[in-house]
């Protein structure tokens, strides 16, 4: 029952996502697109389109010319590509962790489970440019010696899942997937796995459990997937956008990708802009682009209102008041210097009519409902935190609650099996830190300082 209500609740939020029709564009200078390069074509998702733009040429070249794995990994390292799933771990380095010689099947997994509120970029990759992801994964499989791959797709996106399945069929048919590709001894089978919509299944080890047919619950790490992944075998897990960047890097070289961005943040990046902007959607821009520029692309704050706050990388990243983000640049170092982080690039923009107490209530409810329940601090703590905030919104808050909330969040953070615990603590800590007076007002008056309700 509980599972079902959760699914329905999130279903609603997914249709809300749909309302925010993604406007996908390049940056203001018209820079070449990386992960969505088929976008301006007529049938963007088709194999013909992708091949026309040079698709699968890199895979063919690497395989037929027998390019050595260390050489490929080196290019990925040079590219400064960092994992686009949220943690920003350097992809080249991650690839070098896969055991080179292994007596048995190695696996490749793509994480298209994006379930965090405000995150909708990977969905557009499989919808508009699925072949680039397939090529990226095939190149990774060739490099890492993986025989079998899975793309785990979020349970609530049906059409996109079907588009991806169709692309897989096309690729198999065309000989880009399967046995002895291009007459070599490289074989790679890729399958799509449709999840059930739990946010926790985006955590890589929960995702692996789910692929294995079990309940999606994170595993304790170490061992990491590189040594103990799908079915206990060495497995490389990357985000959709990470893999989809690979063919571009192979075509133009690691340095060219690095040069698209700034030091420490190579390439371009998809930002999912949502909230109080005129043109919400996905924007693929160079790393290091100023926030202001991105906001302008998204049409600026809607209804002529003022910017109040931004969650720059998804709810698991700290909220930033307008003054903190206004002069920041959109890259790993830029946002971390400004007091938050890039996360998955899911920028939620809030105007001056937003009540931060109620917003936090909604975010805390999300983590409370999505906790897998495995470890004590997250299972017990997220419920406690949510109930306190709910009580505050109901007008029954106490002043001590604010310190208690901070204390509890600190007690969850860093003490759990997976990062969902930290993710749940971050909004609470950052909302109270930056907007404490609003919370105090709410507790004293039993109503919001912003909307008076």
């Amino acid at each position: 029952m509980a599972e079902q209500t959760t699914k329905m609740a999130t279903r609603k939020s997914s249709s809300a996502k749909k309302a925010a029709r993604p406007v996908v564009m390049t940056d203001l200078t018209g820079q070449t697109l990386v992960t969505l390069r088929t976008l301006n074509e007529k049938n963007p998702a088709s194999l013909a389109t992708y091949e026309k733009l040079g698709g699968y040429a890199q895979l063919k070249r690497l395989v037929t010319e027998k390019i050595k794995a260390p050489e490929i990994i080196n290019q990925v390292k040079v590219s400064n590509l960092r994992g686009r799933g949220g943690a920003g771990f350097p992809t080249g380095l991650k690839w070098s962790f896969m055991p080179r010689y292994y007596d048995g099947t190695k696996y490749l997994v793509c994480n298209t489970d994006e379930g965090e509120p405000g995150t909708f970029k990977d969905r557009d990759i499989i919808r508009y440019n699925p072949h680039q992801l397939i090529e990226g994964m095939a190149i990774a499989a060739y490099t890492l010696g993986a025989r079998v791959g899975y793309n785990y797709i979020h349970g609530e996106i049906w059409q996109d899942y079907e588009i991806f399945e169709a692309a897989l069929a096309e690729a198999r048919e065309a000989g880009y997937l399967g046995e002895n590709l291009f007459g070599s001894n490289f074989s790679f089978d890729l399958y799509a796995v449709h999840g059930y919509g739990a946010y926790i299944c985006g955590e890589e080890t929960a995702l692996i459990e789910s692929i294995e047919g079990k309940k999606g619950q994170p595993r304790f790490k170490p061992p990491f997937p590189a040594s103990y992944g799908v079915f206990g075998k060495p497995t490389n897990v990357n985000n959709t956008e990470s893999y989809a960047s690979i063919p571009w890097i192979m075509q133009h070289g690691g340095q060219a990708f690095a040069d698209l961005g700034v030091p420490n943040s190579g390439g371009s990046k998809l930002f999912s802009v949502s909230g109080h902007v005129e043109k919400p959607g996905n924007y693929e821009i160079r790393m290091g682009t100023p926030f202001k520029e991105l906001l302008e692309m998204a049409g600026g704050i809607w209804k002529g209102r003022q910017l109040k706050a931004v969650i720059p990388g998804g709810p698991s990243t700290a909220v930033m008041p307008a003054r903190a983000i206004e002069n920041a640049t959109m890259d790993y170092d830029g946002l971390s210097k400004a007091g938050s982080s890039l996360g998955a690039g899911s920028m939620i923009v809030m105007d001056d009519t937003t009540c931060m107490v109620k917003t936090l209530k909604r975010l805390s409810y999300f983590f409370y409902e999505e906790s897998c329940g495995q470890c004590t601090p997250c299972r017990e703590g997220t419920g406690w935190v949510y109930r306190i905030i709910e009580r505050i919104v109901d007008g029954k808050g106490k002043m001590e609650d604010l310190d208690l909330l901070t204390d509890l969040s600190n007690n969850i953070s860093g003490r759990t099996i997976c990062a969902l615990g930290d993710a749940a603590a971050t909004p609470v800590l950052s909302f109270i830190k930056h907007f404490r007076p609003e919370f105090e007002y709410y507790i004293q008056h039993g109503k919001s300082m912003v909307d008076g309700k």
């Binding site: 509980a2 329940g373 601090p377 007690n411």
Partner: protein
């Protein structure tokens, strides 16, 4: 070895150990809930968080491997803060009503909360409530108390072999539950009670009957299978309140089978015989010990004088102690009687006189884990020795390959590499095939008796038997093992089979080629001990089967219910009915003893002292944990006084220890055991390989909760699903052949007896067989456990009779 430091204490620890291992070894206490040394690491409770130098967040000690030079702080500010915060989280949704919780006083949460918890709670919101689940007659649930540590889940999956519990729902809604409408059916289920760190899982029979601090804890040995598990008996007001495992790594580890844990409820049964009784003119009358013993002695004297010592039959339970076995053997000899036996469920005694020693399991229990290949012959191992099955499961998890030759295809809850499921009659042939394939593989010319060689020539090796041979030889699909460690064991069905001699000889020959360890799996607590005591017929005496086949004038029964404990129920009943005098030393007054004439109340294992010798030859003595009920007396005392009354010499023992000293001549028991245990035969026996092909065969298994008088009287065990009424279970093909359907009523005939049974479709039964459970009043009219049987559709009169039987039994 790695050098680490915990709380400033330098330690040397083994590579690969975790922080908690290292701390435990050094006696440094780290609080924990989910961690258990015998289970996989879940690291979910987070109670064991400790501070580790160079890490910016606390790490779980149970899941963090030590590294050289690691500095760990378990009591630093950071560590204690982390531990306290976890404790706070654990308690917010916990009921905190320890005074009404059955776990109170022995609860990890309570204990650790005292050390790490705050005195008050900051939690003022509503608490979670979780509905209880009914998971069967043994384990009670109080799910609101659950802290989601998943120890129970991991135990059933990893040790029990089947995931019968799991966590459904997410986050705060996560609940531990069984499959929809299912109970937990593992024969090891009681262990989850011990594992549960809180009062979420408690013992249903024990619940609310006593507080842990009111109980006196006494050590004893479990009396229902051949393992000799160590137990702790908890007693209040001279009554056994519950039984828990006592940790013994080499035997039961920290586990206990449900049979050993819950049988104690049978000790307090209303059936208990509290005073001696004598039957006068068909009426039972209570009497005093003196009268009873004098009457019994008089009867024994008269009958042996009149008809000779030979007219007496002495049947002894293999669950009785060595001391009792020794004394009853002496007493029989004193009466000139050579008809003594403890092998009540055996039918083939052709090996008597051919053995060089006492048969045993041929290795240590712990060694099972190290085997590479295991061949089980005629054993439903989970039914016979639940904890041995668990050891084999561990071996299989470590990569051992298990092969099975049996008439039953019961799921052992572990991977089976190869199996051959055939009629008992064909098992000998299958073993012959393995032997032949084996000799082919090894290119050996076998030193077998000529007839066997000729017989083997005729045998055709089938592909699946060839596979077993290859497996035992070390050849498998993935790799070749040079000189694998092989274990070959014969179980209860083989031991009861009329062709046990053939099976044993074949197993020995196969074992000879593979260099295997192994032997028989003695079924009862003291089977090996009874053999060592020589509780067997003299050279001219009769064995257990002959004693009931050719009725005796008198019987002396020790601790048995003849129709339920003997190989051939009908013959046993008949023999008792015909005898002039039956003297039963028994703890129970039972319907099965209606034909007795004198009942002498003896103390069950909890009320007496004595010694058992286990399947691995371990001699273990125990003391009484309570005083005898009513007028009950330890059987060794009764036998001593009976012998004295008979005027026999040499029975002046003042304690069971004196008897034990006599048995072992004051030596260390191991010396005698070492000299005596031996599975070899003096000579190979002539054997037959191809036996009658036609006709149905009975598989008369003894269900585990019917195995002896105590378990038969334990209400909670009787309520489990294992205790379903005997039925005629057959393979689908067999049913078609007989024109029968699941649910039909049939009459099963064996020899002159019969039983009315419902038919049950059971594809785990080999074709050509009918599985009909033994040791049950419904099948007391039947014959050999493993013998010929015929099945006929029942008439309408039969149906009425069946209904009547059922009402009577209820």
């Amino acid at each position: 070895m790695l050098n680490i430091e915990i709380d400033g204490k330098p330690l040397e620890v083994e590579h690969g150990s975790t922080i908690i291992d290292a701390a435990d070894a050094a006696g440094i206490a780290i609080p924990r809930f989910c961690y258990h040394k015998k289970l996989s690491v879940a690291a979910n409770c987070r109670m064991c968080l400790v501070q580790v130098e160079k890490f910016n967040k606390p790490l779980p000690a149970c899941a963090t491997p030590v590294a050289d030079g690691m500095k760990i702080y378990t009591r630093s500010k950071a560590a204690v803060e982390a531990q306290q915060s976890v404790m706070e989280f654990l308690l917010i949704n916990h009921p905190l009503d320890c005074p009404i919780c059955d776990q109170g006083g022995e609860c990890d949460l309570q204990d650790i909360a005292v050390a790490y918890g705050a005195s008050g709670s900051r939690y003022t919101e509503e608490k979670r409530v979780v509905f209880n689940k009914n998971i069967g007659p043994l384990v009670s649930t109080d799910m609101t108390r659950c802290i989601q540590c998943t120890r129970c889940v991991r135990f059933l999956k990893e040790v029990g072999g089947m995931q019968e519990l799991g966590m459904v729902g997410r986050g705060e809604h996560a609940e531990i539950t069984a499959y929809v409408d299912q109970s937990v059916n593992s024969e090891l289920s009681g262990n989850i009670i011990d594992l549960c760190p809180v009062g979420a899982l408690t013992s249903k029979p024990f619940r609310y009957s006593a507080r842990s601090w009111e109980l006196t804890r006494r050590s004893s040995i479990a009396p229902h299978d051949g393992l000799g598990s160590h137990i702790e008996v908890h007693v209040k007001d001279h009554k056994v309140m519950r039984v828990l495992p006592r940790e013994k790594e080499s035997i039961n580890e920290c586990w206990l089978s449900d049979r050993d844990r819950f049988s104690y409820e049978g000790l307090n049964s209303p059936d208990r015989l509290k005073v001696p009784m004598i039957k006068h003119n068909g009426q039972w009358q209570e009497t005093d010990w003196k009268t009873a013993l004098e009457f019994a002695a008089g009867q024994l004297k008269d009958i042996t004088k009149q008809y000779g010592g030979d007219a007496l039959g002495v049947l002894v339970s293999p669950n009785s102690t060595m001391e009792e076995g020794y004394l009853i053997k002496q007493l029989s000899e004193g009466l000139g009687c050579g008809n003594v036996d403890y092998r009540l469920r055996q039918t083939d005694f052709r090996l008597d006189g051919k053995r060089t020693g006492t048969p045993w399991m041929g290795c240590n229990i712990q060694e099972i884990e190290e085997l590479d290949r295991i061949l089980l012959i005629g054993s439903n191992i989970r039914n016979e020795h639940p904890l041995l099955a668990q050891r084999i499961r561990k071996a299989v998890a470590n990569g051992a390959e298990l092969c099975i030759v049996s008439p039953l295809d019961n799921d052992p809850l572990m991977d089976v590499a190869h199996k051959v499921i055939v009629r008992p009659n064909d098992m000998v042939n299958v073993l012959g095939q393995i032997l032949k394939a084996m000799s082919g593989l090894q290119k050996l010319s076998l030193c077998l008796p000529p007839t066997l060689n000729t017989l083997l020539e005729e045998i055709k090796v089938r592909p699946n038997t060839q596979k077993i041979a290859e497996c035992l030889a070390g050849i498998s699909e993935e790799l070749i093992l040079i000189a694998p460690k092989v274990g070959i064991f014969l179980g209860n069905m083989a031991l009861s089979d009329p062709r046990f001699t053939e099976m044993y000889s074949m197993a020995e020959a196969i074992g000879g080629i593979t260099g295997a360890k192994g032997g028989i799996l003695p079924p009862a607590a003291n089977s090996t001990g009874m053999h060592l005591m020589g509780v067997m017929p003299s050279a001219t005496g009769m064995h257990a089967r002959a004693m009931i086949e050719v009725p005796r004038k008198a019987y002396l029964l020790l601790n048995i219910e003849p129709e339920l404990d003997c190989q051939h129920a009908a013959l046993a009943t008949d023999a008792m009915a015909k005898a002039e005098c039956v003297i039963a030393l028994t703890a129970y007054k039972s319907a099965a003893l209606e034909n007795a004439d004198i009942l002498l109340p003896i103390a069950p294992f909890t009320e007496t002292s004595g010694t058992f010798m286990s399947m691995e030859g371990r001699v273990q003595s125990f003391q009484a944990v309570t005083r005898p009920l009513g007028e009950c007396r330890p059987a060794w005392k009764v036998l001593r006084v009976l012998a004295n009354t008979l005027g026999l010499n040499g029975f002046d023992y003042n304690s069971s220890e004196e008897v034990k000293n006599k048995i072992f001549h004051g030596e260390k028991p191991s010396a005698l055991v070492w000299r005596s245990l031996n599975n070899n035969l003096k000579e190979l026996v002539e054997i037959q390989i191809n036996i009658k092909k036609e006709g149905l065969q009975r598989i008369g298994e003894v269900p585990q909760y019917e195995s002896d008088p105590i378990v038969r009287r334990s209400p909670p065990l009787q309520k489990t699903k294992y205790n379903i009424r005997p039925m005629a279970r057959m393979h689908a093909d067999q049913l078609t052949e007989l024109g029968l359907q699941d649910g039909d009523l049939v009459v099963a005939y064996q020899d002159k007896g019969s039983a009315l049974l419902k038919v049950r479709l059971d594809n785990h039964v080999a074709k050509g067989c009918v599985r009909v459970a033994a040791a049950h009043p419904l099948t007391a009219g039947l014959g050999d456990l493993m013998g010929d049987i015929t099945i006929e559709k029942a008439s309408t009169e039969h149906a009425a009779l069946y209904e009547k039987q059922l009402t009577e039994m209820a």
